[in-house]
């Protein structure tokens, strides 16, 4: 900048800062009122010094405001992230919730239907999500026949979802028969836990959303 333009800029900048200072002072009421602007006076020996110290005050206040804004922003971002991650987890949990079956049966119980009902809108709202349904049985009966029964249980859940609009191509069905129990033991409590379909997001689902209602 040339010396001449600089001398023009400085007072312009000063006025701008003054205005900004006054405006920001108006917005943030609790703050102590800034020192009253000096009367537009003819320059005296003291006014330059006063102007400089006011300038410094103003800059300090700006910095403080900027720090406050930055802090508020980071708090807000953290809150958003937390609620988003909690939200993601909640959606994922609903999609992967397990359903259980009665002994030797592959038809859906009422509680299983309710669990599947909750999955449907989430699957429709997240078309990138592909699902793998894995059927399991308890340890009783023929190991090999139980592979077929597990497959039948997975197919049963898939049919329920596809009948409610989830495209077939997004759901894969597999069976583990009795080979992957979640509960060890030879009693009804263990057996009941093992007679199940598990649901796994096989692809997609990096950013799950809820349906816009």
């Amino acid at each position: 900048m040339t010396r001449s333009s600089r001398s023009v800029v400085r007072p312009v900048v000063t006025v701008a800062l003054l205005s900004a200072g006054m405006l920001s002072a108006c917005r943030r009421r609790p703050e102590p009122a800034p020192a009253p602007a000096p009367a537009p006076a003819t320059p005296t020996v003291d006014s330059t010094a006063i102007r400089d110290s006011l300038e410094r005050l103003r800059q300090q206040r700006e910095a403080e405001l900027a720090r406050q804004r930055a802090y508020d922003d980071s708090v807000r971002r953290a809150n958003e992230a937390a609620s988003s991650s909690a939200e993601q987890t909640a959606i994922r949990n609903t999609i992967t919730a397990v359903i259980h079956f009665d002994f030797d049966r592959s038809d859906l119980r009422d509680d299983a239907r309710a669990t599947l009902d909750a999955k449907v809108p989430l699957l429709l709202a997240n078309p990138d999500v592909n699902l793998r349904v894995a059927g399991h049985t308890d340890e009783r009966g023929s190991s090999e026949y139980n592979i077929a029964l597990g497959q039948r249980r997975a197919a049963s859940a898939k049919r329920y979802l596809t009948e409610r609009g989830v495209p077939e191509g997004r759901i894969e069905t597999v069976s583990f028969g009795e080979e992957r129990p979640v509960a060890n033991g030879s009693d009804e409590s263990a057996w009941a836990q093992n007679r199940r379909d598990e649901f796994e997001i096989s692809s997609g689902g990096a950013r799950l959303t809820r349906p816009r209602s």
Binding site: D104, R132, A134, R140, G141, S142, S143, E144, Y145, I147, A148, L149, G150, Q151, R152, A155, K158, R159, E172, T173, V174, S175, F176, G177, E179, R180
Partner: protein, 452 residues
């Protein structure tokens, strides 16, 4: 020990005559007047000729004797006569030139004495007829090195099996192996339970099945990417059958008798059906059973390849059915009469075609092994202790391997369906889904990977 110069007897007539004479020896050791007894028809499976296996000289002698004698014992066709092996005078003749103390053996109840000699790379087997007081037959069997290896043991099993044929007319089954599932892996052990190295084939594998040459195993994998896989024991290599319906779940494969195709079950969103696929895997699989949404699994061929037995849920609960190999003429074989609960499954067709073994559930929820005759549909209950499942016939159509909880943990056991004798085959944390191989010739398959 000099070889006795008795001419070998090769014809089955002579072998049967020998059998009759040995029987005569058991019945009445001093009766020397029985001659020319008609044979062939008269080997009584319920009789078990007494056999002595003499101690074997040399560093490997004890091992050879133990393996050979155990094979005869496990055949359930002989009674092993114990002798005091540490005192040779108890079984050697005292007069010069008298090799064996035949009268002593006769008094002990032995009809036959087996004399084994290991020299060079061969096992010399001499079978003595106690009643005739002389050698009835001799043969040499090649013994591959190294000693105590699986091939070495297999050769001894082959010798014992052949000796059995001299006496009973039927070759033994010692030279066979049993594949099974242990946790997630497939394993193969010898029929006497021995294994030197674990032949681990695949993970997440189920349902091993042998081809009739004993050179390959088919098995299935479960979970995602469920496949039918063929494993070659000669090369230790596996091959996935990619044309076997690559979606959903494939299970329970078996070989057709010509080894050129495999029948397996495919389960998808509409129940499960049986399919056939060529082993060269260059054509799509062909559906055989028409289950119409029901489950149809666990095929087993009749020995002539013309029919299949399988498990079907088409009546509402699992039962065993049979049908023609092209899928026609399906009929129910088992019914609720054979147990108190509606569950019968895991059929295995016997090698002689007469019987189908299966498991049937009873009121307390336990399963038992049963057989049903194809001729008159009569049934027989073979087990009662613990829960017993997954029968697999030995090549003699008489012994069965199966999984049992009778010892507390599920293990494999072997049952002689004629005498009821049982022996425990595995001692593992758990074993499942046994498949008994056909008789394996000495000249066949060596598993390169398992050589120590």
């Amino acid at each position: 020990m000099p070889r006795l110069s008795i001419p070998t007897m090769r014809s089955s007539f002579h072998a049967a005559a020998l059998a009759a004479l040995l029987l005569a020896g058991v019945a009445s050791a001093q009766d020397t007047t029985r001659r020319g007894v008609t044979i062939g028809l008269s080997y009584d499976p319920a009789s078990r000729p007494g056999v002595v296996v003499l101690p074997v000289a040399g560093a490997l002698g004890d091992s050879v004797r133990a393996i050979f004698q155990r094979d005869l014992d496990y055949s359930d066709r002989f009674t092993i006569v114990p002798i005091d092996a540490s005192n040779p005078s108890t079984f050697r003749g005292t007069t010069p030139g008298a090799e064996l103390n035949y009268p002593l053996f006769a008094r002990l109840g032995a009809a036959a004495v087996v004399q084994l000699t290991v020299s060079g790379g061969s096992l010399h087997v001499a079978l003595h007829d106690v009643a005739k007081a002389g050698v009835a037959n001799v043969e040499d069997f090649a013994l591959p090195a190294p000693p105590l290896s699986r091939d070495w043991r297999r050769a001894i099993h082959g010798a014992a099996d052949e000796m059995e044929r001299w006496v009973t007319g039927q070759k033994g089954i010692a030279q066979s192996r049993i594949a099974f599932v242990d946790g997630p892996r497939l394993r193969v052990i010898d029929s006497d339970g021995a294994e030197d190295a674990v032949t681990t084939i695949g993970g997440q594998a189920l349902s091993p099945a042998w081809n009739s040459a004993g050179t390959m195993l088919a098995y299935s994998t479960f979970g995602s990417a469920s496949r039918i896989v063929v494993y070659d024991l000669r090369t230790n290599r596996s091959r996935v059958l990619r044309n076997a319906t690559p979606t959903n779940t494939n299970l329970t494969p078996i070989f057709a008798s010509d080894g050129a195709s495999i029948v397996y079950a495919h389960a998808d969103d509409n129940g499960s059906d049986l399919f056939m696929i060529g082993i060269d895997d260059n054509m799509p699989a062909r559906r055989i059973s028409v289950g119409r949404g029901t489950d149809n699994v666990q095929p087993t061929f009749s020995p002539d390849g013309r029919r299949l037995a399988f498990t079907s849920g088409r009546s509402g609960h699992p039962e065993v059915y049979i049908m023609d190999a092209d899928g026609t003429n399906a009929e129910l074989l088992t019914s609720f009469d054979f147990g108190d609960r509606n569950y019968r499954s895991d059929p295995d067709w016997s090698p002689d075609g007469r019987l189908i073994a299966f498991q049937s559930q009873f009121a307390d929820g336990r399963f038992q092994i049963m057989t049903i005759s194809l001729r008159d549909r009569s049934t027989k209950l073979l087990t009662s202790e613990g829960s017993n499942e997954q029968p697999s016939w030995a090549p003699d159509g008489r012994h069965l391997a199966f999984a049992s909880t009778r010892s507390g943990v599920r293990q494999l056991w072997v049952l002689d369906s004629e005498s009821g004798r049982l022996r425990q085959l595995t001692r593992l944390p758990g074993a499942n889904l046994p498949a008994w191989s056909p008789r394996l010739g000495t000249s066949a398959t060596t598993n390169a990977a398992a050589r120590p």
